[in-house]
């Protein structure tokens, strides 16, 4: 394994929380490009590796391979994380495909007050709040690395395109007036 990849893995291994690309750049004193390149190569090995590297929204974290879920569950004698309710899944799907997105936009799509589903997802760590770049008082929501862990996603590229996923539902063009 080349030096940079080895260093990235060592750092992620000792980190107590997800590590941003910027932090790695500061510590390793290499270009963002070099880090991204190494991370992409590491992710390519995710399919069968025992320890995989999760990457999402410029943050990285190591995790056990979801394919080994039964063995890990048995070893730790733990319960799997609880399944999500339909309301939570609906909200999560909207955040996933429209991120970063505000509460008002989520509620506009769902047609229903979503305060409690959003709160539920935040507490479970599946989504996170960030201040809006245009208005610091406004909050926007994004999916997290915990989201990948919960659903056993190894690489965000595995997820289907929204257009592809919903191509059977056609929205008519507005009538010309």
């Amino acid at each position: 394994m080349d030096k940079l990849k080895s260093q990235i893995l060592s750092i992620l291994f000792v980190a107590s929380k997800p590590v941003s690309l910027t932090e790695l750049q500061d510590v390793l004193e290499v270009t963002e490009e070099a880090i991204k390149q190494s991370v992409a190569e590491l992710i390519a090995g995710n399919q069968t590796a025992g320890i995989i590297i999760l990457a999402h929204n410029n943050k990285l974290q190591l995790a056990s391979n979801p394919d080994n879920s039964p063995a890990v569950k048995k070893f730790l004698s733990l319960e799997l994380r609880e399944k999500l309710t339909d309301a939570a899944l609906e909200t999560l799907a909207i955040v996933l495909y429209k991120q970063p997105i505000s509460k008002a936009e989520i509620e506009n799509i769902r047609g229903v007050n979503s305060q409690y589903s959003i709160r539920h997802l935040l507490i479970r760590g599946l989504i996170e709040k960030i201040p809006s770049p245009s208005d610091k008082r406004m909050q926007l929501y994004k999916t997290t690395l915990e989201f990948m862990q919960h659903l056993g996603i190894k690489d965000m590229k595995e997820l289907p395109d929204f257009e592809e996923l919903t191509k059977n539902i056609e929205i008519p063009q507005a009538p010309t007036s």
């Binding site: 995989i52 996933l96 799509i109 229903v112 007050n113 059977n168 929205i171 507005a174």
Partner: protein, 236 residues
């Protein structure tokens, strides 16, 4: 038709379900078709889940526009209301797309394949290293921001409730008005309403009374006001 509240995530979910039960495509025609079922659900919602009522009323208003257009095609509602109807179709289809995406995530969740990070306690690494800028005052300020946010959460249900006018009160009110006057018109009914919600509730109440054949609605000619008459017993 009996509809259970709990199985719907919101008004759009209910609408979609009603349309699909009739094996219709999402269109303004289909929406007009299921309006009454939707409204009867809204009525039952009042007791079961008043917190969501406001969301359902917003959609009910749009449906009433669509329904009245389908009954009285010449009814001129102004461009804004016509767009409302079209918007609802778009809104419903957009919602349907995300429901599809949610279904995909549900399948991922059902695989029960999960991964975990390291669950190490970092005991060997603990060092007392405070942030020099942190003071008790700063922490107190941070906590009062948290307190303010908590107040919002508790206040929300009350706000929503305030927005909603009781449907049964309104029905009683109209019934009394009708017995007093025997005949009144829609325009005089909504003349004194203070909010959009109240107008919707008035419509809902009227619809309910019509269904129970307590009143009948008449429109003598296109563009004329709708006249509400108390039904004479046995002559509905």
């Amino acid at each position: 038709m009996q509809v259970k509240t709990a199985q719907f995530e919101g008004p759009l979910d209910l609408l979609l379900q009603l349309i699909e039960d009739q094996q219709l495509d999402v269109s303004t025609l289909a929406l007009a078709h299921v309006t009454e079922q939707f409204l009867s659900h809204v009525k039952s919602l009042q007791e079961k889940n008043p917190l969501n009522l406001a969301d359902f009323l917003v959609i009910a208003a749009k449906l009433l526009v669509i329904k009245s257009k389908s009954l009285l095609p010449n009814l001129d509602l102004g461009i804004e209301d016509e767009e409302t109807a079209f918007d609802l179709t778009t809104q419903l289809l957009t919602y349907k797309k995300f429901k599809e995406a949610a279904k995909y995530l549900k399948n991922l969740d059902a695989r029960r394949k999960q991964s975990w990070g390291r669950e190490v306690d970092f005991t060997d690494r603990i060092t007392f290293y405070p942030d020099p800028d942190i003071t008790a005052t700063l922490l107190a300020q941070s906590l009062s921001r948290v307190a303010a946010e908590l107040k919002e959460i508790v206040r929300l249900p009350k706000e929503v409730m305030k927005e909603v006018v009781s449907i049964s009160d309104k029905i009683a009110h109209i019934q009394k008005l009708i017995s007093d006057k025997l005949e009144t018109s829609l325009s005089s009914l909504i003349k004194d309403t203070k909010s959009k919600t109240e107008v919707i509730v008035t419509f809902l109440a009227l619809l309910e009374l019509t269904k129970q054949r307590i009143v009948s609605l008449e429109q003598t000619e296109h563009f004329a006001d709708i006249v509400i008459k108390k039904t004479i017993h046995g002559q509905a």
